[in-house]
C-alpha cells in the first residue's frame, strides 16, 4: 500500500478543480495523447549550435549570484512566518498558491512562497533548509539541473521545490533512484505537501494496477523512472494507435472497454500526460540509463528455438578465437573470419545432417546466431554483466550494481547467455513497446533535476535535454582528503596492494568502504581480506537483502571498525552515518578498486566519504589489466608494460593522464551510443509517422 489519501483540496481553486474529484476520463485521455505527440527531434547540423546558444542564453538568465542573494533574502524572511499560527500560514499559502496556479508569480512571489514552505518544512519535519538548499530549490524552480554534492540534503531540497512546481504544472513526477526512496520520501514529505494543498502518492513495484490510476491522478507522484516509463508504455499499448481522444473512445467502444469496471483493461490511460518532472540523481537516470530503452515484451509461443540456442552455444565453443573470429570488446561484437565462415558451413551441414534445427540450413541466419553465441561467450562475463540465480540468468546493472530481475537482453542474446550457462533457455520475447529514457524525458515540457555529479554531464544535459546545469556550493567545506591514485602492472598486484591498504587503515580504527566494479571483483577482494583475517561485510547484488543493515553498520569506527566491500550499489544515494569513534579516527575511507567508464560514477562513489563536512579520505587503485584500459587504451598500456618492468607504475609520468584519457574515450563512446539510439528513434518517427 503506497497511497496516502489526503483531505480533498477546496474545489474553488481553478487549477486543481479536476483533481478535487475524480479525473475525468476525457481529460486523462486528452492529456496523455497530447503528451505523446510531443516528439522532440534531436537537433542536427546548425540546429545544434542554435540549441547551444539558446541554452547559454538561458544559463545567463538566472545566475548563481542572484540566487544566492535571493536565498539570503528568504532566510531573512523567516521571522515573518515563524510566529504565525498554522491556520494563518495555511491561508497565506493558499493565497500565494493561487498566484502560482494562475502562473502569475513574480520573483517576489517565489521568494515568499519558498520562505513559507521552508517554515512548513520546519514545523512538519523539524528540518529547516539551509541557504544553499534554497539556492538549489530556486534553481530547480527555473528548470535547472543542479549539482549538489552528496550529503547536502537533496531529499529536503526536493521536497521544498516540489510544491512550487506542482502549483504551476498540472502533475509533477518526482523520480527517485529506487522504490524504497520513492515510498519513504512520499510518506515522509506528505505532511509538507498536504499543507501546501497538494496530494502525493508513490508508485512502486508492488503498487496494484487499480491503485495506480488514482495515484497518477495526484498532484505529486513519487516513483522510479522504470515504473513510470513502464506505465506510460503500457498506456501506449492500451491506446494503440489512437491519436485523438475521440478516436480512442470510438475504438474503445468497439471493443467495449471504456467504461468497464476494471480500468486496467479499458483505454483509460494510467499516466495522464507528462507535465513536469523533478529527477533525483538526474545524471544516472538521464545519461547512464539513457542508452537502455525500456521495453515491454511478452514471451513468444514458439519454443523450438531453445534447442537452437544450445546448438549455437555448442558450435561457438568449437571455434577458435582470432583464427575463426575476432571479438571487439568495446562494441560487444563478433566478426567471423573467412576460415570461421568455412568452419561454420561445415558445422551447419553436419548439424543439419544429424537432425538439428532447420535454421542451420540458412547460412545467414545461422552465422548470425553463431556471432551472437560468440558475443555471449566472450563479451558477457558472469559476475560482471550477469549472475545466475536459482537457475536463471539475471542481468546486473552496470551502473548501479543491482540485479534487474525482470529484464532480459533483446533478440536472443539473453537466450544465448542462458545456453552458454547451461541453464534453462527461456522463450525469446517479443517487443510490444519500446521507449528510451532519453526520449521519454524529453517529452516533459518542464524538467529539473538534482544530482551529485551533474557538472560532468553538462554537455549532454544541455544538448539532449536543453537544461542548463548549475553547481550549488556546499553548505560546509568538504573535509575529504583525496589521496593520490595508485596504478599497478597487473590486477593481482593491485588487489594485494588494496588488501594491504585496507589492513593499514583498518588498524587506525577507521571504517572503510571498498568499491568494486563487478560482483565478481567484490568477491575477489572479499576472499583476500578473509585470508588476512580482516572482518568485513560484502554488499553486492547477491546480498541485496541485507543492504540497509550493512549500510547502517558501515560507519562504525574504532577497534571493530567496519570494512565494507560493495559494488556500485553503495554508490548512489547511500548515506553512511559515521559514529563518533569513526569521526575521531579520521572518518570514512573510500577505496575505489577500478576506474569506471564515467568519471561521474567514480565521483559518486568517492562522495560517500566526507559527507556534510565529516572528515574522510578516498583513494583510487588502478591496474593495466582493468577493463577501462584493456578496452580503450590497449596499445599505450601494452607499451608501458613493455617499457617498465615493475609492479607499481604510479610514478610513471603521464600515467594518470592516460587513465583520464581512456575514461574520456569511454565516455564519448557511451555518448555516441546514446546519440545513435536517439537518432534511430527519430528516423523511424520521420519515416513511418503515426506508427507505434
Amino acid at each position: 500500500m503506497t497511497s496516502f489519501p489526503l483531505n480533498p483540496v477546496p474545489a474553488s481553486l481553478p487549477g486543481n478543480a479536476a483533481t478535487g474529484g475524480a479525473m475525468t476520463n476525457y481529460t486523462a485521455l486528452y492529456e496523455s495523447l497530447r503528451s505523446r505527440k510531443l516528439k522532440p527531434v534531436v537537433p542536427k547540423n546548425l540546429d545544434i549550435l542554435a540549441v547551444k546558444l539558446q541554452v547559454a542564453a538561458e544559463r545567463r538568465r538566472v545566475t548563481l549570484k542572484d540566487l544566492r542573494r535571493r536565498a539570503d533574502q528568504i532566510v531573512t524572511l523567516a521571522p515573518k512566518f515563524r510566529n504565525v499560527s498554522d491556520a494563518v500560514l495555511d491561508q497565506q499559502i493558499n493565497d500565494i498558491r493561487e498566484v502560482f496556479v494562475r502562473r502569475r508569480q513574480t520573483a517576489d512571489h517565489i521568494d515568499t512562497a519558498l520562505a513559507m514552505i521552508r517554515e512548513v518544512a520546519r514545523r512538519e519535519t523539524g528540518e529547516e533548509p539551509f541557504a544553499v538548499q534554497l539556492v538549489a530549490a530556486l534553481a530547480m524552480q527555473y528548470g535547472r539541473m543542479v549539482e549538489m554534492l552528496t550529503g547536502e540534503g537533496k531529499t529536503l531540497t526536493g521536497s521544498i521545490t516540489a510544491p512550487l512546481i506542482a502549483w504551476q504544472h498540472r502533475w509533477l513526477h518526482v523520480l527517485t533512484v529506487n522504490d524504497y526512496l520513492a515510498q519513504r520520501d512520499a510518506q515522509s514529505r506528505a505532511c509538507i505537501f498536504k499543507r501546501c494543498g497538494l496530494r502525493v502518492g508513490a508508485i512502486t513495484q508492488e503498487t496494484e494496477n487499480g491503485e495506480r490510476f488514482d495515484i497518477y491522478a495526484r498532484d505529486i507522484v513519487y516513483g522510479t523512472p522504470k515504473q513510470i516509463v513502464a506505465d506510460w508504455l503500457r498506456d501506449q499499448i492500451r491506446l494503440g494507435r489512437a491519436t485523438t481522444p475521440w478516436n480512442a473512445r470510438t475504438m474503445a467502444s468497439l471493443i467495449g472497454g471504456e467504461d468497464s469496471a476494471d480500468k486496467s483493461r479499458s483505454i483509460m490511460p494510467m499516466v495522464p500526460g507528462l507535465h513536469a518532472a523533478l529527477v533525483d540523481e538526474a545524471d544516472a537516470v538521464l545519461v547512464d540509463e539513457g542508452v537502455i530503452p525500456l521495453i515491454i515484451a511478452r514471451a513468444r509461443q514458439e519454443d523450438e528455438m531453445s534447442q537452437v540456442y544450445r546448438e549455437a552455444a555448442d558450435l561457438a565453443s568449437k571455434l577458435e578465437d582470432t583464427i575463426d573470429f575476432a571479438i571487439e570488446p568495446v562494441r560487444r561484437r563478433a566478426t567471423l573470419k573467412l576460415r570461421g565462415e568455412d568452419r561454420c558451413k561445415q558445422l551447419f551441414a553436419a548439424l543439419a545432417d544429424r537432425g538439428g534445427s532447420a535454421i542451420w540450413r540458412a547460412t545467414r541466419r545461422g552465422e548470425e546466431l553463431i556471432r551472437q553465441a560468440l558475443v555471449a561467450r566472450y563479451c558477457y562475463i558472469k559476475g560482471q554483466q550477469y549472475e545466475t540465480v536459482d537457475g536463471k540468468v539475471v542481468i546486473v546493472d552496470e551502473y548501479t550494481g543491482r540485479f534487474l530481475p525482470d529484464r532480459s537482453w533483446e533478440h536472443g542474446l539473453h537466450q544465448a547467455v542462458e545456453a552458454k550457462e547451461g541453464v534453462e533457455v527461456t522463450a525469446d520475447r517479443e517487443t510490444l513497446a519500446r521507449l528510451s529514457f532519453q526520449r521519454y524525458f524529453r517529452s516533459y515540457p518542464f524538467m529539473c533535476g538534482m544530482t551529485g555529479t551533474a557538472a560532468d554531464a553538462t554537455g549532454e544535459m544541455e544538448s539532449t535535454y536543453r537544461r542548463p546545469v548549475m553547481v550549488i556550493p556546499t553548505n560546509r567545506p568538504i573535509a575529504r582528503k583525496q589521496m593520490p591514485t595508485r596504478v599497478f602492472r597487473s590486477a593481482r598486484e593491485k588487489w594485494a596492494a588494496i588488501a594491504d591498504s585496507v589492513a593499514d587503515i583498518h588498524n587506525q580504527g577507521r571504517p572503510i568502504l571498498v568499491g568494486t566494479r563487478s560482483v565478481a571483483a567484490s568477491e575477489t577482494i572479499a576472499r583476500m581480506l578473509e585470508q588476512r583475517g580482516i572482518q568485513h561485510s560484502v554488499l553486492n547484488a547477491n546480498f541485496d537483502k541485507d543492504e540497509a543493515e550493512i549500510i547502517a553498520r558501515a560507519g562504525k569506527g574504532g577497534l571493530s571498525a567496519n570494512v565494507t566491500v560493495a559494488t556500485n550499489m553503495a554508490g548512489r544515494g547511500t548515506d553512511i552515518k559515521l559514529d563518533d569513534l569513526a569521526k575521531s579516527a579520521g572518518g570514512l575511507h573510500v577505496i575505489l578498486t577500478e576506474m569506471h567508464s564515467a568519471k561521474r560514477i567514480d565521483r559518486q562513489f568517492i562522495g560517500r566519504a566526507g559527507r556534510q563536512g565529516d572528515p574522510g579520505s578516498a583513494q583510487i587503485f588502478a591496474s593495466l589489466e582493468d577493463e577501462l584500459l584493456r578496452k580503450f587504451a590497449k596499445w599505450p598500456s601494452h607499451i608501458i608494460r613493455q617499457r617498465f618492468p615493475k609492479s607499481e607504475l604510479t610514478d610513471i609520468p603521464g600515467i594518470l593522464k592516460l587513465l583520464n584519457w581512456s575514461q574520456r574515450r569511454a565516455q564519448s563512446h557511451d555518448r555516441n551510443n546514446r546519440d545513435s539510439v536517439l537518432k534511430q528513434d527519430d528516423w523511424i518517427d520521420k519515416h513511418l509517422p503515426g506508427v507505434g
Binding site: T243, R364, E368, H411, A433, Q680, P689, V691, G692
Partner: protein
C-alpha cells in the same frame, strides 16, 4: 560477408500493421540485365518505387488482411537467406509510405504530414539552388495539346517511321558533307550579336518541338505527361516536360524511344533544314539563314547536351535503359563513395550499390567520366561567361564552386563528424582524411612540378632572300640546279629581254643623235644648246636605267645559300612578267624557328632570362624527334603581326586572325597581341659545322610548323594554375 541482422529493434512498431498498396497503384514488371524488377507507380501523383522480386513478393503479400509480421515470416520460410530482414522491411515500407504508395491502418498526424511535405519542399528547393544552372519552373499541363497532336502523328510513330527518319537524317548528313567548310565558316557570323534574335527564336521553337517529341512518344505508349515547364539550362531558358511516366514502361525500347523522342523530332527538322539550306545556297536569303540557324542550334544542342549521357538529359536516360542500369548517376556516385568507404576508410560492411561485377565496372567508369565531365563543363562554361560578362561569370563561378565542390566537401566533413558507421573509428577516419588532404595540398600546393608552356612556331631563315624579276622577259638560262648550293654573286638565272635590248640600242642611237644636235646647236644656235644638253642628259639617264635593268637580267645570289626556284621559274623559255618571284636563296646556316605566343599567356618570355627555361621542339610532321632550342631573338614588346601565315587559324596554327583586318593583311594580323621570338638549335660550343648543319637540317624545310614546349622553372601546381587563371582573366575580362 553479409552482416545483415535479421531483427530490428523497431519491429514492434510495424509488426501489427496491416498495410496494403493504394488501390490505384500499378505494378509493372521490368527486366534489367536479366534481373526482374517491379516498378510500383502511382499514376495520379507520379510517385515511383522500384522493388526487387523478394521485396515485391513481400509487398504483394500485404493485402490488408495480413500483418507485416505474418508476411515477413512467410517470406522467411520461402526465401531463407535471400529473405528480407526486419530492417529491410521497415525501409521498404517507409519508402513506399513516403512515396505515398502505401495505405496503412495508421492515422498520420497532421503535423507530421505537414512536416513531411515541408521537408520535401525544402529538399526540392535545395536541389534547385544547387543546380542554379538548371532551374525548373513548372508551367501547365500539356495533356490536351499532346492529345491533339498524338493521333495525327500516330501512323508515323512506329518502326517504319523510325527507319524513314534514320534514312532522312543520314541522307542530310551525306548531302552536307561536301559543304562542310562552308558550314564551319558560317559559324562565326551566326553567333554574332546581330543574329541573336533569329538564333533565340529558332532555339526556343526547336526546343518546344523537341519537348513535343518526348511528350507525343510518351503518350503514344500510354504514359501521362502531367507537367510542361521552363528551365534555365546554363542560363538559357528552355522548355521541359515531365515524361517520367515512361519509367514504368515494360519494354526498355519504349522507354528509350521516349528519351530519344525529343532528339529525333529535332533532328528531323534539322534534316529538312539541311536540304533547304542546300537548295537556297545559290541565292542566299532569309530562308537560307533560318535553315542554317536551325541546323546549328539542333546540331550543337543535340551533341553537347541532349545526346551526352554524362549530364542528366535525354542521353543519360537512354544510356541507362540501354545498358539496363537504372538510376545510373546516383548509383555511380554511390559506387564511388562505396569504394572510398571500403578502401580508404575501411568502413565495416559498406553497402555496395550493386552485387554484380559487370554493373560495378559500368558504374565506376560512368562515375569517373561524369565527375571529369562535370569539372570540364564547369571550367569551360565559367571561363566562357567570364570572358563575356565578368561579374556574372564570377558570381556563377563562386556559386557553382560552392554547390558542386564546397557542398560535397561539407557533406564529407559532416559524414566524417557524425556518421554512424564511423562511430567506432572516427579518429582513424579523420586522420585518414587529414592525411589525404595533406597529401593533396603537398602535391598541388607545395611540391614544385615542371611548368610546361606550349607554343607553335614556324621554320624560316634569318638570311633568306626572295629574288624577283625586275622586268618582263623569258628565261634564257638557268645556271644552277634547283636546290643547289650557291655562293654570293653566283649567277642563278639569266633572263632574256629582247625588247629591253632593242630599247637600249634605240636609246643609245637617240643619245648619239642628241649629242650631234647638241654640238650642232653649240655652233649654230647657242640659245638651243641648253635644251639639247638637257635632252641628251635625259636620254643618258634612261640609258643608265636600262643598262641597270639589263644587268639585272642575270640574277645572282645575294648571299650564300640554297637556291630554291619558284614553281614558274624552272623552265627555259618561259615568259616572266615583272615582279614575279623567281628564286629564293636560303642560307641554311641561319635557319631558325619563329614562334608566336599570345601576350596574355606569355609575359614570362619577355621578362625571364633565357637560361632559366629550356625549349623542346618537335616537327609537326615528325613528332618523335625532339630537338632542344635556344632563343636568339626575344621580343621586347607585343604586336599583332604574325610572322608566317602557317601560324594562323586559317593556316592550321593556333593564332586567331583579326577578322576585321583588311583582306590582303588577313593572314598577318592577329586578333590579340602576340609575342614573336626566334629560336635556333642549342648546340655545344665546340660543335662541328657538320653537327650544326645537321641540327639545322633537322628543323625541316622553311615553312614547317614546329611545336614548342617550354619548361619553365618548377612551381607547385596550384601556383601554376592560379597564374594561368590570372592570365586568362587578364586576357578576357571585359568589365
Amino acid at each position: 560477408m553479409s552482416e545483415r541482422n535479421t531483427f530490428s529493434p523497431f519491429w514492434h512498431r510495424v509488426r501489427a500493421l496491416k498495410p496494403r498498396l493504394r488501390p490505384h497503384v500499378q505494378i509493372t514488371r521490368q527486366g534489367y540485365l536479366g534481373r526482374r524488377w517491379y516498378v510500383v507507380q502511382d499514376p495520379s501523383s507520379n510517385g515511383f518505387y522500384r522493388l526487387n522480386p523478394v521485396a515485391h513478393e513481400m509487398v504483394a503479400l500485404l493485402d490488408g488482411s495480413r500483418t507485416v509480421d505474418e508476411a515477413w515470416q512467410l517470406g522467411l520460410t520461402r526465401h531463407g537467406d535471400e529473405a528480407l530482414t526486419q530492417n529491410d522491411v521497415i525501409t521498404v515500407l517507409s519508402q513506399l509510405y513516403g512515396a505515398n504508395l502505401l495505405q496503412a491502418d495508421i492515422a498520420p498526424e497532421a503535423e507530421q504530414l505537414l512536416s513531411r511535405g515541408n521537408d520535401r519542399r525544402k529538399k526540392k528547393f535545395i536541389g534547385q539552388a544547387i543546380g542554379l544552372m538548371y532551374f525548373r519552373i513548372p508551367l501547365f499541363n500539356p495533356n490536351s495539346i499532346l492529345a491533339a497532336i498524338e493521333p495525327v502523328l500516330r501512323p508515323l510513330l512506329n518502326r517504319f517511321g523510325f527507319f524513314a527518319w534514320l534514312a532522312l537524317v543520314i541522307a542530310a548528313l551525306v548531302a552536307l558533307t561536301p559543304h562542310w567548310r562552308t558550314l564551319v565558316t558560317g559559324f562565326d557570323s551566326a553567333i554574332a550579336p546581330a543574329n541573336w534574335p533569329v538564333l533565340l527564336v529558332s532555339y526556343v521553337l526547336l526546343k518546344l518541338w523537341h519537348e513535343t517529341g518526348h511528350g507525343v512518344i510518351c503518350k503514344r505508349f500510354g504514359g501521362q505527361v502531367p507537367v510542361f515547364g521552363a528551365m534555365m539550362l546554363v542560363l538559357v531558358p528552355s522548355p521541359y516536360v515531365d515524361a517520367s511516366a515512361s519509367w514504368s514502361f515494360r519494354s526498355k525500347w519504349q522507354r528509350m524511344a521516349v528519351g530519344a523522342g525529343g532528339m529525333m523530332f529535332e533532328l528531323f527538322v534539322a534534316a529538312i533544314a539541311a536540304f533547304v539550306w542546300l537548295g537556297t545556297k545559290d541565292n542566299p536569303g532569309l530562308a537560307h539563314q533560318v535553315a542554317y540557324n536551325i541546323m546549328l542550334t539542333s546540331g550543337i544542342s543535340t551533341v553537347v547536351f541532349n545526346a551526352n549521357p554524362l549530364m542528366k538529359f535525354d542521353g543519360y536516360y537512354i544510356l541507362s535503359d540501354l545498358i539496363e542500369v537504372p538510376n545510373l548517376m546516383q548509383r555511380s556516385m554511390n559506387m564511388l563513395k562505396f569504394l572510398c568507404q571500403k578502401h580508404i576508410y575501411r568502413v565495416e560492411n559498406p553497402q555496395s550499390p550493386t552485387t554484380r561485377p559487370g554493373e560495378a565496372l559500368i558504374l565506376i567508369a560512368y562515375g569517373i567520366g561524369a565527375l571529369i565531365y562535370r569539372v570540364v563543363i564547369f571550367l569551360s562554361i565559367t571561363m566562357y561567361i567570364l570572358g563575356k560578362m565578368f561579374a556574372l561569370g564570377v558570381f556563377l563561378a563562386i556559386w557553382t564552386t560552392a554547390m558542386w565542390f564546397l557542398l560535397p566537401i561539407g557533406q564529407w566533413v559532416h559524414w566524417l563528424a557524425t556518421h554512424q558507421s564511423l562511430s567506432h573509428f572516427r579518429t582513424r577516419a579523420i586522420a585518414t582524411s587529414l592525411a589525404l588532404v595533406a597529401a593533396g595540398v603537398l602535391l598541388i600546393g607545395v611540391i614544385p612540378r615542371p611548368d610546361y608552356r606550349r607554343a607553335t612556331g614556324v621554320v624560316n631563315a634569318d638570311m633568306q632572300s626572295r629574288l624577283f624579276s625586275a622586268n618582263n622577259g623569258t628565261i634564257a638560262k638557268i645556271h644552277v640546279a634547283n636546290g643547289a648550293h650557291v655562293k654570293q654573286g653566283d649567277p642563278l638565272v639569266t633572263l632574256e629581254a629582247p625588247e629591253l635590248l632593242t630599247s637600249l640600242e634605240y636609246a643609245k642611237a637617240q643619245l648619239r643623235e642628241a649629242k650631234l644636235r647638241q654640238s650642232q646647236a653649240m655652233m649654230q644656235a647657242p640659245a638651243a644648246e641648253q635644251a639639247a644638253a638637257e635632252y641628251a642628259n635625259m636620254i643618258d639617264k634612261q640609258i643608265a636605267y636600262m643598262s641597270e635593268l639589263v644587268s639585272k637580267l642575270v640574277i645572282t645570289a645575294p648571299h650564300d645559300g640554297t637556291a630554291v626556284f619558284a614553281e614558274g621559274a624552272r623552265d627555259i623559255g618561259r615568259f616572266i612578267s615583272e615582279g614575279t618571284p623567281l628564286v629564293e636563296v636560303i642560307d641554311e646556316r641561319t635557319l631558325r624557328v619563329a614562334a608566336v605566343l599570345p601576350q596574355a599567356e606569355a609575359d614570362w618570355i619577355a621578362s625571364m632570362s633565357s637560361d632559366k627555361y629550356t625549349v623542346e621542339a618537335r616537327r609537326i610532321s615528325i613528332v618523335d624527334h625532339v630537338m632542344t632550342l635556344t632563343p636568339t631573338q626575344l621580343p621586347r614588346s607585343a604586336s599583332t603581326t604574325i610572322p608566317h601565315s602557317a601560324l594562323t587559324y586559317a593556316g592550321g596554327g593556333t593564332i586567331e586572325n583579326d577578322p576585321k583586318a583588311q583582306s590582303q593583311q588577313l593572314d598577318t594580323v592577329a586578333k590579340r597581341p602576340i609575342f614573336t621570338a626566334a629560336f635556333i638549335p642549342k648546340l655545344p660550343k665546340d660543335a662541328t659545322d657538320e653537327a650544326r648543319a645537321q641540327a639545322l637540317a633537322d628543323l625541316g624545310p622553311t615553312g614547317e610548323r614546329i611545336k614548342l614546349r617550354f619548361e619553365l622553372p618548377s612551381k607547385p601546381l596550384l601556383a601554376q594554375w592560379l597564374d594561368r587563371l590570372d592570365k586568362a582573366l587578364q586576357g578576357r575580362a571585359k568589365i
